[in-house]
């Protein structure tokens, strides 16, 4: 705990603008609940923070002064987005040894949460390399069904996600790691898998239609 009480830092790993990403919505829910428990908070959007020397320095300083760090990110090519890895490289160079708890929340566009497994292992290795204490990860599938809206406004579909995050918040407030039950609830499909893939495939066609490229969606522009 620092002199001003406990402080939680949310690192948003999505490159999207504030208010637009599932990663932010998931992380913001936790932050709000921690603030209700009188924790102070700070939110940093990683892609934006890396654009200047000041931003990079502020990122490292924020990590240094936090009591709990939550990294919320989308899965990119089985791993973390490049800017998140860059931020991790910077943080690991600074290396902290105060045992700050580090938690990861991953969301992917595949129906199965298990796709996030490698990324979670990377987060755990990062914590180890940076002198942070790995306090567990929550992995979510079907991220494509969610939006950047506040979780409470996303309907019954997110009930298990909210339950999972509530359990996690209870644990964080007591300086405990992510409970197994929270991990289990977070990984539960939010809709049936067949429905997700069917709706997803329809959605891609619909979006392509909006841009007038429905018939080009299978194009191979770089075919040799």
């Amino acid at each position: 705990m620092n002199s001003e009480g406990n402080r939680v830092l949310l690192l948003v790993g999505s490159p999207k603008a504030p208010g637009k990403s599932v990663s932010e919505a998931l992380g913001a829910y936790v932050i709000e609940k921690m603030e209700a428990r009188r924790w102070s908070s700070e939110t940093i959007f990683i892609r934006m923070s890396l654009q200047s020397d000041e931003g990079r320095a502020a990122l490292v300083e924020a990590v240094k002064t936090a009591d709990l760090i939550i990294l919320s990110f989308p899965l990119y090519v089985d791993s973390l987005p490049a800017p998140v890895i860059r931020a991790m490289e910077l943080i690991a160079e600074a290396r902290f040894d105060k045992g700050t708890h580090f938690v990861a929340i991953a969301n992917c566009g595949f129906p199965e949460a298990q796709h996030n497994k490698v990324a979670m292992s990377i987060c755990q290795r990062f914590a180890h390399a940076s002198g942070l204490e790995w306090a567990g990860g929550l992995a979510l599938g079907m991220g494509g069904a969610l939006s950047g809206q506040r979780l409470e406004e996303q309907g019954g579909m997110v009930r298990n996600i909210i339950k999972a995050l509530d359990l996690a918040v209870d644990a964080f407030a007591e300086n405990k790691p992510v409970p197994d039950e929270a991990i289990r609830l977070m990984a539960k499909p939010i809709i049936p898998g067949w429905m997700y893939t069917t709706m997803g495939n329809i959605g891609w066609r619909r979006q392509a239609n909006c841009y007038g490229v429905r018939k080009k969606i299978r194009d191979r522009p770089y075919q040799r």
């Binding site: 892609r47 990119y76 490049a82 890895i85 860059r86």
Partner: protein
């Protein structure tokens, strides 16, 4: 046969370039046509997660920078080699900035592979994939994560064959050469 080597070594670790150079020499000695890209010298913006490469300009990223050319070269290769310092078990940010921008290589549509959902192919054929991970000192857990990551990428990007090997940064050129030779044998692309 064409090989594309993506060097993800960062500017503070240039001494690791020698591992990429051994890989290139080994491939050339086997009569491969090799192009090596040093990614730290190439300006590539981060992927914005917009899916424009799937639904707006199919197969081409909306951001007009060097990543488009990297992706084009990947399609035109028989083998893509990732050379990277193993970074917390995964790729360096320098390598990852290019890979994040390459998802236009696959289709947005879902399919099932080994009971798991993935995306369909866009191109009829994808290159084979070889991951070369560099560690400062032996680290079994990082090596395990790296090999798993290469395997997962190979499923998602439809690489027909893949191999991953881990080298210590102070290994001799002869040892690296032998490892490379073995890895290419695993891929069945030694000539």
């Amino acid at each position: 046969m064409k090989a594309l080597v993506l060097n993800g070594v960062g500017k503070d670790s240039r001494h690791l370039d020698r591992i990429e150079e051994v890989a290139v020499r080994e491939l050339r000695s086997l009569q491969w046509e090799v192009e090596a890209l040093i990614l730290r010298d190439i300006e590539i913006a981060p992927c914005m997660g917009c899916f424009g490469c799937w639904v707006q300009t199919p197969g081409v990223c909306l951001i007009d920078d060097a990543a488009r050319e990297v992706t084009r070269k990947m399609v035109g290769s028989d083998l893509v080699v990732y050379v990277t310092p193993i970074t917390f078990g995964g790729y360096s940010s320098e390598l990852k900035k290019a890979l994040d921008r390459s998802i236009g290589l696959i289709s947005p549509f879902f399919t099932r592979i080994n009971g798991e959902v993935h995306h369909k192919k866009r191109y009829a054929r994808a290159p084979n994939l070889l991951g070369v991970g560099i560690v400062h000192e032996p680290d079994e857990e990082s090596a395990r994560i790296f090999k798993t990551l290469i395997g997962r990428n190979a499923i998602n990007m439809h690489n027909p064959a893949h191999a991953a090997w881990v080298v210590n940064e102070d290994q001799s050129e002869t040892e690296i050469h032998e490892l490379m030779h073995t890895a290419l044998g695993e891929l069945g692309v030694r000539s």
